[in-house]
Structure formats: C-alpha cells, structure tokens
C-alpha cells in the first residue's frame, strides 16, 4: 500500500528528476580519463597525446555526477501566491589541475628531461560528495528560494602550492621543493546551503533571463586529518651510513615522518562547491530561439560558456545544438532533445560532446537525463 500511496502523491504534484554525469578535460582524452578512473595500463602514446594536447597550459580534469529531485506543492502557502517547494540532491564533484611538467614527471619520468626545472605550482586534486535536502518557497514565474540541510560524507583535497623538481644532466644532484597540504575528512560533515532561482519572464519582453544558484553554503567537518609539507631537499646523493641522510637511515622505519606535520583531529569549515548559472534566451521566431548561458563555480577552473540554437519540431518535440567553451575542457559541441506530452510529463536528454560517445580521442563526455512531471 505504501508504494502505491507514494506513487500517487508523486503523480499529484509537479516534480523534476534529473540525473547527470559528465567528465571533461582539456588534455586527457577519453581513453586516458577512463584509465585514470577505472584503471588499466596507460601507454606512452596516451601520455604523449595528452602532453601534446595540454601544451604549456595548466591541465585540468573534472567530473560531476549526481541526482536532483525537485518538487513544488500545488497548495498556496498561508493565503499567499507562494507555494512550498523543495529538493533533494546528491552530488559528487571532482577537480584536478596539473602543470605540464607534473604530467611529464609522473607519467614519463624525469630521465627524458634532465636539467629541466619541473614546476609543480598550483597542481591539485579535490573531491567532495554531499546530499542537500532543501525546502523553500516558490513564487511567481517559478522564482524560488530554498534552504537545505547538507550532509557531506566525504571531502578530500591535495594542493601543491609551490613545488619544483630538478635533476641535473649528469645525474649527480637533485633539488626538490614542496609546499603543499592535504586533507581528508574522517567523519561526515553537516552544514547548510541555499538554492535560489530568479527568472525574468515578461510577456512584453521578447527574451527571457534566468539566474540560478545552487549549493551556496558550508559544512562543518568535525574531524579532518590535515598534512602540511614545506620541505626543500637538495642532495648529491646519500652517504652509506649516518644518522639521517644515509642509505642506512632511509631504510629505517619511520624515516621521513618529520617532513610533514599532521593534525588528525581538526574541526574545519569548508565551503561547498557552489554554482551560479546565468542564462539568456532570445526567440528567433515562433518555433526557434537562441540561448546563451554562463556557469561559474563548482570548482571549474574557467567559467563555462554555452551558446546554442533551439527549435520546436511538431507539438511534442524540441531540440537544440550548442557550443560549449571553458569549464574543465576546450571547445566542444552539445545536443539535446525534449519530448513532451502536454499536461503530463516531459523527458529531456542532453549530450555534451556527443562525439565523445563514439571515439576514444574525445576529451570527455556528459549526459543528462531529466524527467519532468507536469
């Protein structure tokens, strides 16, 4: 009886369920990204291809995946025009950056470029996964604001603030410097976040404008383990024996423990990777339009800019094509389609870099599925 009741309730209110997953890089193609994510052997050709694609830019790889269920009640709240609304969202975001030298050093080694100073500044990896259960009010034009309770079970980050590595051409001296920190949450965090939307929709205006902000908030991590390193090593090699810098000493258990300071019981506040979307829609005709969108935040190294063309096909279909720049990757296409049964429901499928689904050389791919109960 209970599932039937839930199903009945779900069908009685407007709600939207969105599931998405996307991975994007400016230098690691789909093959390389898949190996890093799912494992496998990375060949020198794959590394060379990535290195060529990256050039002298900072490398970037990011992913985001999750599920978002949003609903709005039909009943007015306290005799106003507003209605109670809410959402439950589960999200996992990952971001990594690296210098060209770091890619070369890690995947090719240093033997091929002796005498070069490998700069590691700004390289980082971080991930966060959280759930946000929010409730709020929706007013005219579907403008809404929600405040949510955030549960963040995992937060991890490694950041090389400054670093370099150098071995001279005769392989008789090494310099390495690292000022870095890393942190891993040991216990789940709780916090709060705001979601808000504002839509400019006027019958007299030939265009529409939308602002949407998500997960603007924070979480208190009650037990975070943090490592900090600020160490310079300059050596021409170790001595055979000695108390510290010798082959004998480095083979002892516990050697090197002093390089990093560890704080294993720290309470810290961390901002969630919030995201701001601003989009502009301009009708080109009764059945077509032009869209422009900018997305900021969510740990993306660059804002994501989107422009596209949309067209209605028949009474039930709508489709569009887009070009996307920024985010974690370079310029790529996207396409979407929407099938709608008026007054009942609609289904949207959105493919980012559709060619990424058919070739191993694409730099990522993304898919979004959305079901709207109207």
């Amino acid at each position: 009886m209970a599932p039937m009741w839930v199903a009945a309730q779900l069908d009685s209110i407007p709600w939207t369920l969105t599931v998405w997953g996307q991975q994007r890089s400016n230098s690691l193609d789909r093959d390389m990204g898949q190996k890093l994510f799912r494992g496998g052997h990375i060949t020198p050709e794959m590394v060379a291809s990535s290195s060529a694609a990256q050039g002298q830019d900072m490398g970037a790889l990011g992913f985001t995946t999750g599920v978002d269920w949003r609903w709005t009640s039909l009943k007015a709240w306290k005799n106003s025009n507003a209605r109670i609304c809410g959402s439950i969202q589960g999200k996992w975001v990952g971001d990594s950056r690296w210098t060209p030298e770091l890619l070369d050093l890690v995947f090719s080694g240093n033997a091929g470029h002796l005498g070069r100073w490998d700069v590691l500044d700004g390289s980082r990896v971080r991930t966060a996964a959280w759930m946000n259960a929010a409730i709020g009010l929706e007013g005219q034009n579907q403008n809404r604001i929600e405040i949510g309770l955030v549960y963040l079970p995992a937060y991890t980050g490694v950041h090389i603030r400054n670093g370099y590595f150098h071995v001279d051409e005769d392989i008789d001296s090494l310099q390495a410097y690292m000022r870095a920190d890393a942190e891993v949450s040991q216990r789940a965090a709780w916090g709060s976040a705001i979601n808000a939307e504002w839509h400019f929709l006027r019958e007299e205006a030939p265009f529409a404008f939308h602002l949407r902000i998500q997960n603007l908030g924070w979480a208190v991590v009650p037990k975070m383990t943090q490592w900090k390193v600020d160490t310079l090593i300059e050596t021409t090699g170790l001595t055979f024996q000695g108390p510290e810098w010798s082959l004998e000493a480095v083979q002892q258990e516990g050697w090197g423990a002093g390089f990093a300071s560890v704080d294993s019981n720290k309470t810290v506040v961390r901002m969630l990777p919030a995201r701001l979307d601003a989009s502009f829609e301009y009708p080109l005709g009764p059945r077509s339009g032009w869209d422009v969108q900018v997305q900021l935040g969510e740990w993306m190294p660059l804002p994501r800019a989107i422009t596209g063309y949309r067209r209605a096909i028949g009474k039930q279909w709508q489709a569009g094509i887009q070009m996307i720049a920024g985010g974690w990757g370079r310029l790529r296409p996207a396409a979407w389609a929407r099938w709608r049964v008026p007054g009942e429901h609609a289904i949207v499928i959105y493919l980012e870099d559709p060619f990424g689904w058919g070739t191993h050389s694409a730099f990522g791919r993304g898919i979004t599925l959305q079901f709207q109960n109207m």
Partner: protein
Amino acid sequence: MNDVRPLTRGKVLVLIGCAIMVLGGCNRQPITWETNIALPLVDQVWTWSEVIQGASDDSTLAVDVGSPGTIVFSGPVAEWGIESLTQLPDTIVSQELTPDFDGGPFAVPPGAVLLDTEEDIVFQGIDQAFTGIVLESGRIEYFVESSTNGYVELFYAFPSVTIFGQPVELQVVLTPSDGVAFETREGTIDLSGAVIDLTGVSGNEINRIASQLIIGTPSNINDTAQVYGSDSIRVQMHFQELLVREVSGYFGQETIGFDVEQQVFDPVDFPSGFVEINPTRATLQFRNTIAADLRLQLDAMSVDGLQVTHPSLGLPQLISRAAWEDGALEPAIWEMDLLETAPSIFELLSYLPQWVQVVGEGLLNPLGDVSGGHDYFDTRVPPALYLDLEWPLVGTIEDFQIARSLELSPTDLPGFNGDLLVRLTNGFPVEWTFNAVWRFPGTGIDPVFIEGLVPAFPGGEMLELRIPVDEQRLATAGVIDVVASMRSEGPVEFTGRERMRLELGVEGMYQVEVP
C-alpha cells in the same frame, strides 16, 4: 482534491535507467604505466679521516692541512677496568620473628609493635673498606611471609640509601593467614642512581647499610590478631647486581693485572697493504683517574705477537693519586715515548697489523692508606692508555686496501630495467684500483662484478661505469663488497686535503602501479 494517477511504465523505466547510470562505473582495476627515472642515490666522500678512522673508532683524529699534511691523533686507545671497585657482591638479609611463648592464641590489638630494631646490613666478601657508593644500577628483591591469624604490618627503612634525596623504605601489610599456608608478598625495589652511605648505624663502620625494621599490627585496621607460639613472620631482602658508578673509602692494596689487547687495523676493513708511517711525535700515556696511588709496571709490548722493547718496560712506575675537586678531575699522568721502541713500533704498524698488546700490572695504594680512607673512583672515567701521535703524510704506499661492505634492503620497483651509474673521482695523488661485488646471498642470482682503475690526481681522475640492473636484483636483499686499493710510485707527499668521491645513481624504466 488533486487528481491522483499511478506512475506510468515509462516513468518507471526512466527511474531504473537513472539508477543504473549512478551505480555504473564501480568496477575498478589498478592503474599502471611505465616511467623513466634518473636519480642520484649515493654521494660518499672519503677523506683521510674516514680512511684511518676504522683503526680506532674512539680516538680523536684530525688532519692538519699543509705541505705535507699531518694526521694528529690524540685519544684513549684502551681503558683499564677494575672489577673489584665496580661491582658489589649480591647480599641476602633475612629476619625472622617468632613469639617466645608456646600455645596461644594471644590477642594482639591494632597498633601493637612486635619488633622494632635497628641494625646494619653487612656486605660480605669485600676486601676494600668502602664508606660510600653511588649505584649505576641494582635492585632489592624482597620477600615477606606470615603465618599469623591477623593483619601484619612491616616497615623496613634504609635511611642511608637515598634515591633523588628520598630514603628507600618498604612498607607492607599482610592479610591474615588462613592457618594452613603462609601469607606472602614479594617485589622489587630499583636502586638505579641510589646514593648509599656504607658507614652503618654508628656512622663509623665500613661496608654496612643502616636499616630499621618494625613489625606490628596496623593501627588503621580494626582487627585483633590471634598469635600462636608456633607463628612466624619472615623477611628476606636480596641485594642484586649492584653496579657502581662512584665509590669512596679505602681501596686496599690490590694488585690488578693489566692486559690490553687493542685492535689497530681490522683486517675486514684493511685487508692488506703497506703505508709508510714515520711519526714525528708518538707518546703513550697512562692516565690515573683514581684518587689512589698506583704502582704501574708495563712488562711487555707486542705487535701481532712480535715483541718490541722500550727502556721503560719492566720498571715499576709510581703514579700519584688523581685530584678530584668539586667533580673536576686532574689525572696523574705517566708517559713513554714510543719513538724509542726497538724495533720501531711504527715500522711494524706500517704493515697494518691487527693487534697491539701491552701487558703489565698495577698495585693500588702501594704505600698503604695514606689518604685516611679517602680514595675515590668514578667508574665513568676509568684509568686509560692514551696515544698522542703526529704523523706527517709523506711516504710510500703499496697496495693499501680499504674494504667496506654495504647491505642493501630489497627495493620493489616492478619491471625495472636500467643502469646503476658508478662514478669515482680521485683527489689523491696516487692511483686507486676499485673492485666491487654486488652479491645476493642465498639466492641463485648471479653477482655483479664492478672494477675500474681511477688515475691519480691531477688529470683524468674520474671513472664512470654503468652496470645493468633489473627488477629481480633490486627486489632481492644484497650486499655490496667494495675493495679500493691505493698504490704510489715511490714516496708521495699528501696535503691532507685529498678526497675520494663515490657517486651512485640510477637510470632506467619501471612500472608504476596505483591500486
């Protein structure tokens, strides 16, 4: 009332599809790739100090740079241990309390004292007359037992034994015996660092520790003991392994044998060769650090069994007592000039002998108790033979070999295939021959042989070798035996600045695996 409709099949399919997408991608395997590395590993420099250091690890050795350079060696080469002054015999003290009546029981109320006695614990088997000691280590193992049907309190105090200024005391409360078995208690008191006055209860004795023993019933336990004539209370204190740090008193007239066999060149480190040694100063000193007179007679000196003579050998030498004032030592010194030996001891040392032996004897307090019982010895500063040597670095060197062994722990570098780089830079004005074997004991892996000739400095003084290594050798515990030998064409003058530098590096490819 809203219109309520069931979920359609299409919606259910969408939800299932979403769940599959979210759960997909969980099948993960290790990430692997191959990387080429080139890293310096070892940079070891051997100076004259390191070359000679193996001959005497405890010495103070310095190299004065000049033309020629000079090796200056000043330090102890042998210490004289005197066991009779450094270890006290184990001593057991037993006390037994028995009632002087038959029958019973007699009621003994709480707080009653059954025995209160002060007496000395005498250390037997000591020939010296010690008045005080500070212990490096030691302990008292105690054992108490009672057959009394009532609580028994035992208080054993040693007012003349203090640790960090606090007297050592033992307080034990025994519960009532069941009349069948003795009630017992045992334990240990650590005496490390204990300061012990050995003048006894009277303050005028020797080799005695004052003690006070009180046996009674505890006043804070409301129990009346029932004592029978057959009851007994026994206490046993066992002083064990008393090692002395400082001792004072009269040490007596003890003759102590002196047989010092000092290793000079360990053949493991210096297998063979000849180094011409012509010191300009070579003095062997005996430093008396005991505040007691000493008559020393060195009877014989030999180098690897070959006797050498000296005018001082066989003659008794009276060495006065050392002065200890406020903890500061002023040793009494007697010395002999080693340049007067025949044959020359340094000519023998040039052939890198293993042992130098000095045999003799010393008599403590040859004139009796002239200090009135104020002899003093700090075992941390024992009497010792010191060598004071100045050796100009001029001479002939013939196949002077230095050997070292290095154990290498297994290093897991999967798929490694590359080279071990060996680079030798010679700063000595003599030619070096370098031989090394990288072997893998207990395995069937073939050893790696490395050899090369490093020309004399200046000019062409570097040798560079590449030795192929692989994953298997790196992953196996190994030993590298290195033998470097030096040879000169006739006499050579060294400045003391000479260095031999060994650099090891690794270059090759290995497979990284990230689980």
